[in-house]
């Protein structure tokens, strides 16, 4: 590949991933409201366009038109920085996700992934943990006790659950032997989904993913019943929109990561029997991945509208006293199994 075509190809990939991320996040807001409504025997938004399909547009217009309020006692620079960081880090995570196998055009391979970092998992963790800075800074800069409490909660929750999440991934890395997401996805062809080998790790990872994205039942940073709006109490207009939007992007990326780590990524069992053309396989792979992602986004919402919020001490107990020991146990069990089945050599 020449430098020029490489640049064009990477540019297209970046733009496509960015656009799709934003699109999915936009329609997640619509899906959230519809699913919430349906789970509660309501209809949900149905005025903007058929079935309310234009509701996200209406929301966006509303967000942009609203008055922009910056509290006079706030730290203005940090106040603006908060939502920007949240949005930026949320958009950064899509880089290492393998969206499908490679496309072959004119004998050249075009992997459907922006970049295949050999330490993809570490990159992912690094960026995700940066995301809490947006919430922390935003909460602190608002100069409001509710926001501050929200920010503090967000940071301590993030720290607690990152440990368990990392430990659950270590067991996964032990079985896959790779830190590259592409490698992990490629290994799970057919029925060799990692959830079969790592059920406990998968469960821990999903629980931690809920906590990392600040979704219910772990949405303590915004916790409207005690903290008004939590870290975004003082925010209005599109800055508030950024915070909310970042949450939906995080949810989308988390679903993509869960699917890639544990549920076979773009792989689908048996599809190789009917489709042989690699390009078609790649396209179908994208479709499968998005089906899985949609399911997990639905799952995120389903859980949100079923479970009540944890109390703060329960959250900490669950994180430190249950999930961390469990994930260490998971590592030990994985190690033993690998040792005795001889896959360790």
């Amino acid at each position: 590949m020449t430098l020029q075509s490489l640049l064009i190809y990477k540019g297209i990939m970046v733009l496509a991933v960015f656009a799709i991320t934003l699109l999915v996040a936009t329609y997640s807001t619509y899906a959230e409201r519809k699913i919430a409504a349906f789970l509660q025997d309501r209809i949900g938004p149905d005025r903007a366009g058929p079935f309310g399909i234009l509701q996200p547009l209406a929301d966006a217009v509303k967000m942009f038109m609203k008055e922009e309020m910056i509290p006079s006692v706030s730290n203005k620079a940090l106040f603006i920085l908060g939502p920007s960081i949240a949005m930026l880090t949320a958009c950064l995570t899509g880089v290492v996700i393998p969206w499908g196998k490679s496309l072959w055009i004119g004998g050249t391979e075009y992997p459907l992934q922006i970049t295949d970092l050999n330490i993809g998992i570490l990159y992912l963790f690094g960026v995700i943990s940066l995301g809490v800075y947006g919430i922390m800074i935003g909460g602190w800069a608002s100069n409001n006790k509710y926001s501050l409490l929200g920010g503090i909660r967000a940071s301590s929750q993030m720290i607690s659950y990152e440990v368990a999440m990392g430990l659950s991934i270590i067991a996964l890395v032990m079985t896959t032997g790779s830190l590259s997401l592409r490698e992990i996805a490629a290994q799970q062809s057919g029925w060799h989904w990692n959830v079969v080998y790592q059920p406990l790790g998968c469960l821990i990872f999903i629980i931690c993913a809920f906590a990392e994205t600040n979704r219910a039942p772990f949405d303590l940073p915004e916790c409207e019943t005690e903290l008004v709006g939590g870290y975004h109490t003082e925010y209005s207009s599109m800055k508030l929109g950024f915070f909310l939007f970042a949450e939906y992007i995080n949810m989308f990326i988390s679903s993509a990561v869960i699917s890639t780590f544990y549920f076979g990524g773009y792989n689908m069992p048996f599809i190789g029997r009917w489709v042989h053309d690699p390009n078609w396989l790649a396209v179908l792979g994208i479709v499968f991945l998005f089906v899985k992602i949609s399911f997990f986004i639905f799952f995120f919402m389903w859980v949100r509208w079923t479970l009540p919020r944890f109390r703060y001490d329960q959250l900490m107990n669950l994180g430190w006293k249950i999930l961390i020991p469990l994930s260490i146990l998971n590592i030990v069990i994985t190690g033993f199994v690998m040792y005795f089945t001889g896959s360790l050599n």
Binding site: L39, D46, W302
Partner: protein
């Protein structure tokens, strides 16, 4: 004393291991919410669909006219006394000669006001009225931009000559029969749901017409 056997004794026993795992409980909870996903929604999409009112819905009041188009109210004040919300006020006046076609009785209400913000639509005024003058109808009270506008005067309350208000929904034969037994015979001279068509220039009965929602 135990009235029903629905009360539950709270027990604070230790949870079993399975219960402490919470996962089965979470799973069953999620199944419950999921089953609601496909339920029929009870939503009524308001501007397009309207909820059907019960036949005895009590809405905005009307001051009825009699079969000659004269106002029935005699400003006796019984409705104001009966009103638990003290929503009704009125000023009485004496009928002048030549006004017989306007007012049925010798005394009439020159001013008659109901404060719709105070009214609780209990219907006691209707029950108290000895002249079958005031009724609650199936019309909703309009929303207004200020409080003053919600004190309805005679201009709104008295039914117009051209558009008599139909009361047949609530004043069914059974209701009238019931009223009779309660001593309302004084007004049983005519059927409330028929009214004489009036010629505004010549206030003399021309023809009888069955009132409807037209």
């Amino acid at each position: 004393m135990q009235l029903t056997n629905r009360s539950k004794v709270v027990s604070k026993k230790e949870m079993t291991f399975v219960e402490r795992m919470y996962l089965p409980a979470i799973f069953s909870g999620m199944m419950i919410t999921f089953s609601h996903f496909f339920r029929k929604k009870p939503t009524i999409k308001y501007p397009e669909q309207t909820r059907e009112f019960s036949g005895v819905f009590r809405g905005q009041h009307v001051l009825k006219r009699d079969e000659n188009g004269a106002e029935r109210c005699t400003a006796c004040g019984l409705c104001a006394v009966a009103c638990p919300a003290e929503a009704i006020t009125m000023t009485a006046a004496e009928r002048e000669p030549g006004e017989e076609h306007l007012y049925r009785e010798e005394k009439y209400a020159a001013k008659y006001e109901i404060n719709m913000l105070r009214c609780i639509f209990c219907g006691d005024c209707e029950e108290a009225c000895p002249k079958e003058a005031i009724f609650l109808t199936d019309r909703k009270v309009d929303t207004m931009y200020n409080r003053g506008a919600l004190v309805f005067g005679k201009d709104i309350l008295v039914e117009s000559l051209e558009n008599p208000i139909d009361l047949s929904k609530r004043q069914t034969p059974e209701v009238k029969e019931f009223k009779k037994q309660k001593g309302y015979q004084h007004n049983e001279t005519h059927d409330l749901n028929t009214r004489t068509e009036m010629d505004p220039k010549n206030p003399r009965p021309v023809q009888k017409k069955k009132l409807g929602n037209s």
